[in-house]
Amino acid sequence: MKRILSFWKRGDSFILITAGGLLFSIFMVVLIVGIIMVKGLGFFWPSDIELFQLKNGERFLGQVWDTEQARLTDKNGKVRIVNQTNIKIGNRDIYGRDFVWINNDDIVKKSTPKNGVEFERWEYGNMYGFIKSFTPVSSKDRINKDNFFSEAQKSLKKALALKSQIEEKQNAINKLLTPLSKLQTEISLSEINKTRSKAEIENLRKQEEGIKNSISAKLELLQSELLKLKEENAGIKMTIVTADGKSVTLPLYKFVRFFRPNQMSVMEKAGFYLTKVWEFLTEDPRESNTEGGVFPAIFGTVLMVILMSIAVVPFGVLAALYLNEYAKQGFIVRMIRLAIANLAGVPSIVFGIFGLGFFVYILGGTIDRLFFSSTLPEPTFGTGGILWASLTLALLTLPVVVVATEEGILAVPKANKEGSLALGSTKWQMIRKIVLPNAMPGILTGVILAISRGAGEVAPLMITGVVKLAPSLPLDGTFPFIHLERKFMHLGFHIYDVGFQSPNVEAALPMVYTTALLLIVIVVALNLLAIYMRNNLKKKYKTSTF
């Protein structure tokens, strides 16, 4: 007891308390990163399909999603703790819900049926069931028990191939019709606005007829081919039996893929996992962003940070050079440093509202009035877009670049600079040949930190040009190739939008975790790179001072 008293009296206990504070903060980092890793990495793993048989005769086929202890209050007001399991049962179009909670006590039998199939669909989410029959590609009698599933896959392949053929045909028809529809809108527009005389309109009508005649034969052929393909594809069907014994027949082209996780080996699962990760990184989102990939969001984020860097780096480097090489240390420099320190502390939403008010409404509005007056009141630059979002973020990340560049410039030994000046170089020559090359790691650190900040920032973007689903990328093959006025998608906003604005949050959650993981990986990797470069910067000059 005496020892404990002196332990407190001498304050050694406080050392343990402070250690507790540190361990707690580490624990929180590990917890948060851990949750996201577990939830985000696990999503693509094809977990087993289980069949649950309940006391009341209900049968559910699906994947175990979550378990928890629920509190049930019975008639007498007594609270009972019950273990519950959340099962993803899919089949939204049949059951009207994707998930079901069941009490573990109610489970009579649980099994992992070998033939349980998970179907991924283009619409309505997953489906779970057993394949009963399908339209085979090769002759019917060839199908036996052994090749049943692989033949089914062949049919799916054919259906999907037909699907892409149909899309191609549709595109060809659209392409054929483009000049005609253009002409038609021109005619109707000039009729409404009375910009053309009657004779001119008549002339246009004749042109229209001409085009119609010239393409009609080809159009008819294409349309009949399209119809035939569609008919053929609708004929490839599959009948699926669900857990409760219902049979559903669907055309196969409605599926993305189907597989039997219960029969897959670990290697197969790993391969499947990688395919899904690849799909996540390279495909467009489906089903209001809750499935498919996040490619447009990755693309938007990358393009936005590139534009932001183009704006912020020269500005930031100039400011840092001015502070360290040109300005006389005094009031102005103190003011600039104060401005930078404060700029770093200004809440990001304030930059956002500034970007909206100044860049979007004032600059954008002026540009619209001067150069795009023909399309007004439909705004071109006078609404949020990738250019304005990038400029807003450039302002926001300016202090990061300035501070990091200054660090780099300060690390250049004075002797080197003085030596250069003594040899007769002008100040600019000295900066160009000595300061800038040697401060390069510092500048790059700044750029990387700015990019990491820009990639993770959401609040200012959501009011200056980010949207939940952009119809087209801001960079494409049509002139002028880069469309600065377009709205874009962003990983951070994707998390907010899918997690909080989506109609079916529970089904969307895995997507949010995976996107969050991707964002964290990007941001953390960039930061580690910056830390590494900064350490190298310090090392380099430790040896070169003399």
């Binding site: 020892r3 404990i4 002196s6 407190w8 001498r10 206990s13 343990l16 308390i17 402070t18 250690a19 507790g20 504070g21 540190l22 361990l23 707690f24 903060s25 929180m28 980092v29 948060i32 949750i35 609270v79 703790i81 020269p314 400011a319 050079l321 001015y322 090489e325 040109y326 600039i336 401005a339 404060n342 700029l343 502390g345 200004v346 809440p347 939403i349 304030v350 956002g352 509202i353 500034f354 008010g357 002008t426 100040k427 600019w428 020559q429 900066i431 990639a455 993770g456 959401v458 609040a459 998390i495 907010y496 997690g499 909080f500 969050a516 964002l519 941001v523 953390v524 580690l528 830390i531």
Partner: protein
């Protein structure tokens, strides 16, 4: 002679100097620019109302105008004279472009008229007739040319007298209105001072006539106002009393209430837009506003006096409500006109009509102009510039009594379902929300960050510290959207589900932790000193795990014993505390997580930079490690610690995504940790996409941003200043 080469070099040297200097000043310009731009968008909120005579002319012919108005472009006006003539006067060309005549009998004279916002007009005559017609001034576009075309459609005309249709009982006072279902109401006082009522029900296609004077003995009705939304009629008498009739039963109007509203004869009554606020004007020039509200402790809705407006120095002859907002004109008998705003009770401006009586006054449909005809036969159009009457220092920061509320309150509710919604722009709930979130974040973050920084800088093994610093930097780099998303979708349901455990962890666990770590003291001091620091860390980790394990085991039994098995339910039933899933606790945790690395990094820097000579001296004098930290290192690093805490505070105030996602964003003012709130930053993010550019809401949101900027600016500057000062103070060691 200089060579070209040298010239070139010098030129590039000059250019580079100019460009680089420009870059340096650019930083100052950008922060000043942001500040000035926010100010520029905010300042118009506080401009007062201004009025300008846009046009004034004298009519060539003597006319007695009973009703007048202009179209929305202020190009065409109409003047209805008492002899039934309607003149359409083109204000651009300054001439009468069209004339029309109402079907009046010989010598019949119009005595009174009312027009509603649909353009429906009712006129009463001295022969006891009511004319009901529609007059709209519609813009017609041919190409880009605009022409205003008047459309006149006579709907009904009927004898007013219910009892003796044959009498030519003239109409003295007339009120008319129409509700959304198309029910029409007329109420009037005839020459015999009888109060009469007519209701047209479009469903039954039937008229109902009533004489209300039976309910009012010895009452001399002097003013009328109809409320189509609440289906009620209000009559004022010469003693200053108001009588409220319920008209919802079309076959039986009913006197509901009667109260004294003024000390003098009531001369004017009018409902404002939204049909909630009633403006009462009396003979002595007093103007008051009333609306139905509950009294404290009572459930009954009653008309209560809300504002008293600036007194006029003559009898109030008319009150004209604005079709757009809660502005209204009060017209005095001596030609003075007052423009008031009902929400604030402010008088925006006053003007006078050349010592002549105002015959008719009306607002332009967009409330950007006032059209006045006076008894000297002068017609004037005033340009009205009062963009933001709904915002003042008082509405932003003071308690305001809004329509339907039981009393003055701080309320933020910027938009509602209808156009006639009364916007409520109190910043107090938002500031309160920001401070509440910041408070919970800071009480969570400060101890953890400070303890962590002290341990890493003073006690931790060097190699361990080397790993910790990058870890914390990673913590700082985690995007706030990820933290917010986890807080909103993972931690808030988790907290709700394990509320008892959270409660134990924040109350019982720290105490238990302190008790358990005492056991470390059982090891003799000399032996403790020689143990590697990792043993210490391992012990603390073990204690923390044990405390957590113990808490999670006892949580359920304790909840059963003390809280009936459900703490959340118990909170509600016993303490009447409701539990929001996304509440301040969750925000405190998440926001605290975001703030910890900022405080940690700066504090750790400050502590590490304390000269080793100081601590060595202290240790050499026999002080223990902790005594050295407490007495020597902490005071010496106080400046840096303070700066770190302040910068953390600045971050917490401005953080947007976390509070947006982890709270319910309801602007309530409540200290309970189990309720959510709405912070200023999240409010901007939520509302700015919907705010019409340059409208009141838009500018108020810019004001919020400006406040945030100023808050953080002060905090940052203060942190720098105090940090420097304290650093200097301890620099002498």
């Amino acid at each position: 002679m200089k060579s070209d080469f040298k010239k070139k070099i010098e030129r590039s040297n000059k250019i580079s100097k100019a460009v680089i200097s420009f870059g340096g000043y650019g930083v100052i310009f950008s922060i000043i620019g942001i500040f000035l731009f926010l100010l520029y968008e905010t300042i118009p909120l506080f401009y007062g109302a201004e009025i300008d005579t846009a046009l004034s002319f004298k009519l060539s012919k003597k006319k007695h105008v009973v009703l007048s108005g202009v179209d929305q472009y202020k190009e065409l006006s109409y003047l209805i004279s008492n002899n039934g003539e309607i003149d359409f006067f083109n204000l651009k060309e300054k001439r009468i472009t069209k004339k029309d005549t109402l079907p009046l009998a010989a010598n019949e004279i119009i005595t009174t008229g009312v027009r509603n916002s649909n353009g429906d007009i009712s006129l009463g005559t001295d022969k006891g007739r009511i004319l009901f017609f529609n007059l709209n001034l519609k813009p017609v576009f041919t190409g880009s040319q605009r022409r205003i075309v008047p459309q006149l459609e006579l709907k009904k005309s009927f004898r007013s007298d219910v009892e003796n249709p044959a009498d030519n009982n003239g109409i003295k006072i007339l009120a008319f209105s129409e509700n959304d279902d198309g029910v029409l109401y007329w109420a009037w006082v005839n020459a015999e001072d009888k109060l009469l009522l007519k209701i047209y029900d479009p469903d039954e296609e039937e008229y109902f006539d009533f004489s209300l004077s039976d309910n009012l003995e010895n009452v001399n009705v002097t003013a009328l106002a109809l409320n189509p939304d609440q289906e009620s009629l209000i009559a004022g008498d010469d003693k200053g009393e108001l009588y409220l009739f319920d008209l919802s039963d079309h076959s039986e109007p009913d006197l509901l209430d009667n109260w004294k509203a003024a000390d003098f004869k009531i001369t004017s009554l009018s409902f404002l837009i939204g049909n909630n606020t009633l403006i009462v004007g009396d003979k002595n020039g007093n103007v008051t506003s009333w609306f139905e509200a509950r009294e404290k402790g009572s459930d009954e809705l009653k008309y209560r006096e809300v504002h008293t407006f600036k007194k006029m120095d003559s009898e109030i002859v008319n009150v004209v409500p604005s079709p757009r907002n809660r502005l209204f004109l009060v017209i005095g008998k001596n030609g003075k006109v007052e423009l008031n705003y009902s929400t604030t009770g402010n008088t925006e401006l006053e003007f006078s009509e050349n010592k002549s009586r105002v015959l008719s006054a009306s607002f332009a449909p967009k409330a950007d102009g006032i059209f006045v005809v006076n008894s000297k036969n002068e017609v004037s159009l005033f340009k009205l510039d009062d963009e933001h009457p709904d915002v003042s220092w008082k509405t932003l920061f003071g308690k305001v009594w809004y329509e339907g509320y039981p009393g003055p309150a701080f309320v933020w509710q910027s938009t509602g379902g209808t156009d006639s919604f009364e916007s409520k722009f109190s910043l107090i709930p938002l500031i309160f929300g920001t401070l509440k979130g910041t408070f919970y974040a800071m009480i969570f973050a400060i101890p953890i960050a400070l303890f962590g920084a002290i341990y890493v800088s003073q006690f931790a093994p060097k190699r361990f510290a080397k790993i910790i610093k990058p870890t914390v930097e990673i913590m700082a780099a985690l995007p706030s959207v990820v933290i917010g998303f986890l807080a909103g979708l993972y931690f808030s349901p988790l907290f709700e589900h394990h509320l008892m455990l959270i409660f134990l962890l924040s109350v019982l666990a720290p105490a238990l932790f302190l008790i358990l770590i005492s056991f470390w003291g059982m090891i003799p001091e000399r032996k403790r000193r020689t143990l590697p620091a990792y043993y210490e860390l391992g012990f603390v980790l073990f204690v923390m795990a044990a405390v957590y394990y113990f808490s999670s085991i006892v949580s359920l039994p304790l909840e059963k014993i003390f809280f009936n098995g459900d703490l959340k339910q118990w909170l509600y039933s016993s303490l009447n505390v409701s539990y929001d899933q996304r509440n301040s606790l969750v925000v405190g945790f998440a926001l605290g997580f975001a703030v910890i690395p900022i405080i940690f990094t700066i504090t750790e820097d400050a502590l590490s930079n304390v000269p080793a000579s100081l601590s060595s001296a202290s240790l050499a004098l026999g002080a223990s490690k902790w005594q050295t930290v407490k007495r020597v290192i902490l005071p010496a690093a106080a400046g840096g610690i303070f700066a770190g805490v302040m910068l953390g505070l600045g971050r917490a105030i401005g953080e947007t995504m976390i509070v947006l996602m982890a709270t319910g964003n309801t602007p309530i003012m409540d200290l309970s940790p189990f309720d959510g709130f709405r912070a200023m930053s999240a409010n901007i993010a939520v509302e700015i996409p919907e705010a019409p550019v340059d409208g009141s809401l838009y500018r108020v949101l810019f004001l919020t941003a400006l406040l945030l900027l100023v808050f953080t600016f002060i905090i940052n500057s203060f942190a720098t200043y105090i940090g420097d000062k304290l650093r200097k103070k301890y620099a002498r060691y």
